[in-house]
């Protein structure tokens, strides 16, 4: 696997105009190697989703460049699949039709796309739910469909924007384990936005800690925990040490966002 190399260089993004201009991201630089799992971690409002939207092509950068496998990113495309936080499945399409969508856009014929879509539904443990509509599924199942729908396109990079943020704690744990299992199969590059430290460390090869707005990289923490990882890994001393380091940084940045009754 040699695709999925992202180079984000000196990225700068601002919203609004003139006096109300807000700098969301400043001089943000990050590289990923093909097949790497990188988490973007930071306090809410730090611009991590903005970075993700820029890589997806939804947002045009004001400064800097984003290059995927040597080609500059110009707009949205199927080579960078996005998994949203929630409610992003097409409500009027069945689970199978949702997963087939990307293949249909590529003009692949029906029988072939059905068999491929079924394969990915199997992978996320949703065989048997092909004919259900999204509204009939739980939040966790909907996110699994979202992951299958993105992966069926074989994207060079999967962008995940707090995909488990709206789920309850138990479901979130199950989904994290499921994601690691799926990722071990497909080995695509993943950029995973979250504000949950445990989640970032549990899933990732590297965790990029962002500063408060305007978002810059504050630290990049390599997570050398052995894979495959099980949920118990979060109780090990190694994990605790990493968590302590990251937690201190996130605390400091959160305090800069909201200097309130913290101390």
């Amino acid at each position: 696997m040699s695709t999925g190399r992202i180079e984000i260089n000196d990225l700068g993004i601002a919203y609004g105009a003139n006096s109300r201009r807000v700098e969301a991201v400043r001089q943000f630089t990050l590289m990923t190697t093909p097949g790497e799992f990188v988490a973007l971690l930071g306090p809410s409002g730090c611009g991590k989703t903005t970075v993700l939207n820029a890589v997806a092509g939804f947002v045009q950068p004001d400064a800097g460049t984003i290059v995927l496998d040597g080609e500059p990113v110009r707009g949205p495309g199927a080579d960078r699949g996005m998994v949203f936080q929630q409610h992003s499945l097409f409500p009027w399409k069945t689970v199978l039709a949702n997963v087939e969508f990307g293949l249909k856009m590529r003009g692949i014929k029906k029988s072939l796309r059905t068999s491929q879509a079924r394969g990915y539904l199997d992978l996320v443990g949703l065989a048997g739910f092909e004919d259900a509509y999204p509204a009939e599924l739980s939040g966790g199942m909907q996110q699994r469909v979202g992951i299958a729908r993105t992966l069926v396109n074989r994207p060079r990079v999967m962008l995940m924007d707090e995909p488990f943020g709206a789920l309850d704690a138990q479901t979130r744990l199950n989904m994290q384990e499921l994601l690691l299992n799926v990722w071990r199969e497909v080995r695509t590059t993943v950029i995973f936005v979250t504000h949950d430290i445990d989640e970032a460390l549990f899933l990732s090869d590297r965790v990029a800690v962002m500063t408060a707005r305007p978002g810059e990289i504050r630290d990049v923490v390599a997570v050398k925990l052995t894979r495959p990882r099980a949920a118990e890994v979060i109780t090990t001393a190694e994990f605790m040490a990493l968590k302590a380091r990251v937690l201190a940084q996130v605390r400091e940045e959160s305090a800069r966002v909201a200097p309130g009754p913290r101390r």
Binding site: A56, P76, R80, M82, F84, S88, F90, N153
Partner: protein, 287 residues
């Protein structure tokens, strides 16, 4: 209505309709509610009968109003002869034509105006300008504009249905979740595919609402137009019955208009539900 038994049986309202219908013996509370509803209809007919049989006159005058029995006899006579069907078919043809034209134009323009700002700027202002004018006010102009009586009545019918359809379609397009559009683009959808796969199905629930409202308005317009200018149609029939002092025919005409209007609205609901199998049962309208 807000009596104590009503409060007792309230939870049963939430039970799925299919389950209630399939049950051989409906729960006691549900049966009681059905009896109450049937009794309510019964009381209505009894009051009608009493008021007309006794020729009540206390400011409102019932002397010339036919009794339920007279209306029933008149209906039997009318439906036994071919003449009445000519009027019904004339009205149905005008409704069908007018509504079909309004649907095609209303949905088509609504999708364009809702999605493309160029279409909004160029097509929407005249619609906004003409919208507050009730379609019936167009009758004189319509007679001058169109060569035949049939075409001018179809025009009025279409005009009435057009505005609710176009406005609801625009609203439906504008309320589409932008995240779904982003999702589609990141799955490789181009502009045409987004319009086909996201915009149209996303607006569909609002479109069906617009069609449903439009159907009601087009009946209103049809009957008014037929009463003002026409030689056929249930509206014409009802108005002429007044002129020739056939008072029970007036009421039969009214009832036929009501039944046809109800049936066409039900048809829209059924077709709408068929087109949108993803909507949960309760949101499909129903009784």
């Amino acid at each position: 209505m807000a009596s104590m038994p009503g409060a007792e049986t309230a939870p049963l309202v939430g039970a799925p309709a299919a389950q209630a219908a399939a049950a051989p013996a409906a729960p006691a509370g549900l049966r009681r509610r059905r009896v109450r509803r049937a009794a309510s209809l019964g009381v209505f007919f009894v009051l009608w009968h009493v008021a007309t049989e006794w020729d009540l006159a206390f400011y409102v005058r019932f002397q010339n109003i036919p009794t339920p029995a007279q209306v029933l006899a008149e209906a039997v006579d009318l439906f036994g002869a071919a003449g009445f069907y000519v009027h019904i078919l004339a009205s149905l043809e005008r409704i069908w034509l007018g509504f079909a034209i309004a649907s095609v134009l209303g949905i088509g323009l609504g999708l364009l105006i809702g999605w493309f700002s160029f279409a909004e700027d160029t097509l929407f202002p005249p619609i906004e300008l003409l919208r507050p004018i009730p379609a019936v006010a167009w009758v004189p102009l319509s007679i001058m504009l169109w060569p035949t009586e049939r075409s001018s009545i179809v025009f009025i019918t279409a005009l009435g249905a057009f505005f609710p359809i176009v406005l609801n379609t625009i609203h439906g397009v504008e309320s589409i979740d932008r995240q779904l559009v982003r999702a589609a683009t990141s799955l490789g959808a181009g502009r045409a595919a987004i319009f086909r796969e996201v915009v149209i199905p996303g607006a569909l629930p609002s479109i069906v609402t617009g069609l449903s409202v439009g159907m009601g308005v087009s009946w209103l317009c049809l009957i008014s137009a037929e009463m003002i200018s026409g030689q056929f149609g249930v509206g014409y029939f009802t108005w002429v019955a007044y002129g020739i002092v056939k008072y029970s025919q007036i009421v039969v005409g009214m009832l036929v208009i009501g039944v046809l209007g109800m049936m066409s609205s039900a048809l829209i609901r059924v077709i709408g539900a068929r087109c949108m199998p993803w909507l949960p049962r309760r949101a499909k309208g129903g009784s």
